[in-house]
């Protein structure tokens, strides 16, 4: 699965990078802000510095780009398959280490790079074999513009965003109707977070936002949508102005991927144009991360078999001959397990229990299958596909 997604990333020209699992807590905090407080594992080193295990990859990659890639021409197209670590409440029984696959497009702005990120996500989900999935796209720009227009102060804005992050529309509505909020803007806020659909949803949102002079915040999303239509992926994408992600560094596009039957998103991301400035290299940026584990669950739920390379042969016999034969088979692309067994019958048993298609007695120059078929090994043919999937 990682291979299938990686191939898509590579096809778009993304390069794999690795970053350390342990980072300075200050560094992560500078990038991710308050959301880190409850999610990062923290520890103290011998000098008394506070360290943290990375809870996600966006900030470590931003740091990497701002430092090690500072002299390279932008844009950077970087991707990763990496373990991340998050603290979870006790007794929830959730894994604290999981694997993320993702891309970051740094140094490129505008609808075309937004559309590229969404396009990679759609292609990657299709490539791993998911038959049914939806990618939701929205933008925080509308909400930010409306909050600005509401003129009700930073404290109110923080509360409103917190209720939106908590997906609590009851509290959100109450805040939007609160005293001191421009009533027309409050009405627009209540409507906007409920708008979703295809292209027409953007038009609907534009009508609402236009009434309070905030329609400009939709331009980028509308252009990106046109590019997604042109790229032929729009049928997998749904516009949704209710999406809000828990990391608060997003500045424009936000994207989330869903599969039916899985109660949690497969992954998500968005545009975070201000994060790199915090590391001294201001540049626009966008990306997404997929949870490998959740994608696996979704694949299983859709009865998609995950191809696993089976074992082609077990080779037994005189040790020196075994080593030579196994080497020749591996060179021809076989997967081979070496055995200390010299007896054909015992080797049959071993091959059967290992799920190998063939057993080879080194020096015999042939492979024998469980049902008695014989394959000449001089020259060694390409491995049969019978290793198959399981």
């Amino acid at each position: 699965m990682t291979a299938a997604a990686s191939a898509v990333f590579a096809a778009y020209g993304f390069r794999f990078v690795e970053t350390p699992a342990v980072e300075e807590f200050r560094t992560l905090e500078a990038g991710a802000g308050a959301a880190l407080e409850n999610s990062a594992f923290r520890m103290v080193d011998l000098d008394g510095s506070l360290l943290a295990l990375r809870p996600e990859m966006t900030v470590p990659i931003a740091r990497l780009a701002a430092s090690r890639l500072a002299d390279e021409p932008t844009p950077h197209r970087l991707c990763y398959a990496a373990d991340v670590y998050r603290e979870q409440a006790s007794l929830r029984g959730e894994a604290r280490q999981f694997t993320q696959l993702g891309v970051e497009l740094l140094g490129a702005n505008g609808p075309s790079s937004d559309a590229e990120v969404v396009g990679v996500l759609v292609d990657a989900l299709a490539a791993v074999g998911l038959r049914e999935f939806t990618v939701g796209v929205g933008t925080v720009a509308v909400l930010r513009a409306l909050i600005e227009a509401a003129g009700a102060g930073p404290e109110w804005a923080a509360e409103l965003l917190a209720s939106a992050h908590a997906r609590n529309l009851v509290a959100f509505d109450a805040l939007a109707s609160a005293e001191g909020v421009e009533p027309a803007v409050g009405e627009a806020l209540r409507r906007v977070v409920r708008i979703g659909g295809g292209r027409e949803a953007i038009g609907e949102c534009r009508l609402v936002a236009d009434a309070v002079g905030c329609a400009g915040s939709l331009d980028a999303l509308e252009s990106a949508w046109e590019l997604l239509e042109a790229a032929g992926v729009a049928d997998r994408v749904r516009v949704d102005f209710g999406i809000l992600r828990s990391f608060d560094y997003y500045t424009g596009l936000i994207v989330e991927a869903y599969a039916p039957g899985l109660g949690l998103p497969l992954g998500g991301g968005g545009r975070y144009d201000e994060v790199l400035a915090r590391f001294g290299a201001p540049m626009p940026a966008a990306g997404f991360a997929l949870s490998l584990e959740r994608v696996m669950i979704a694949l299983a739920a859709q009865d998609v078999a995950i191809p696993v390379r089976g074992l082609d042969a077990v080779v037994g016999g005189e040790p020196r001959e075994v080593a030579l034969t196994a080497k020749r088979l591996r060179a021809a692309g076989w997967t081979v397990r070496m055995s200390a067994t010299r007896d054909a019958a015992a080797l049959d048993v071993e091959a059967a229990s290992a799920g190998a298609s063939w057993r080879v007695l080194a020096g015999e120059g042939r492979a024998v299958s469980a049902d008695g078929r014989v394959l000449a090994l001089d020259p060694v043919p390409a491995p049969s596909s019978e290793g198959g999937t399981r």
């Binding site: 409440a89 049914e132 939806t134 939701g136 908590a166 997906r167 609590n168 529309l169 009851v170 509290a171 409920r194 979703g196 749904r238 949704d240 209710g242 999406i243 989330e256 869903y258 039916p260 039957g261 899985l262 109660g263 949690l264 998103p265």
Partner: protein
Amino acid sequence: MTAGRLRMAIPKGALFEGSLRVLRAAGVEVGALADPGRLLIVDTEEIRFIIGKPTDIPAYVAYGAADVAIAGADVLAEAALDVAELADLRFGACRFVVAEREGSATQIADSYRRLGVVRVATKYPRITEAYFADRGVQVEIVKLHGNIELAPLIGLADQVVDITATGTTLRDNHLRIVDEVMSSSARFVANPVAVRIDSERVMDLAGRLARAAGEVEQP
């Protein structure tokens, strides 16, 4: 994505009748849910109703076993799981209060001064902890499963945090309300992914229920 029935979890107990009322008022066919007997799953043309223990409803929704549900705001706050709260259904109103034995205020203040800790009995440890932490008061929480009002009377705790609709039980047990923690009512909630991929059905239902909740006469 409109495959199959929408799965809706309904709490048995105090919120059950109110849930039926608001569903009917919103024009939702409730079928055998009106009299489920021992059934825990009731199917209608459009909806699969799942009847659960109120405190378990947030888990059903957060893990996606139910797409949507009706649950008390109190239970949602205590569970602190990731669910989308879409509408206030207004029935089942109650208040979370801090209460103590009548005439025990001086004694509690005194022991807090000496020991620096207050012992609080509750069914809702998470809400209680958050409330006292906000005020910088150090508390020892005793988690109980029922008859919370008994705790101060038998010397188990100094104060209690509990829900009350009218305050009668507290008064009958000579407990005095000292502060309000939060108010609660029934909410219409949804799994965060269901809101996104089944949004037409879920948001439509949320809108109908919210309107119906405004019209249903409170008992």
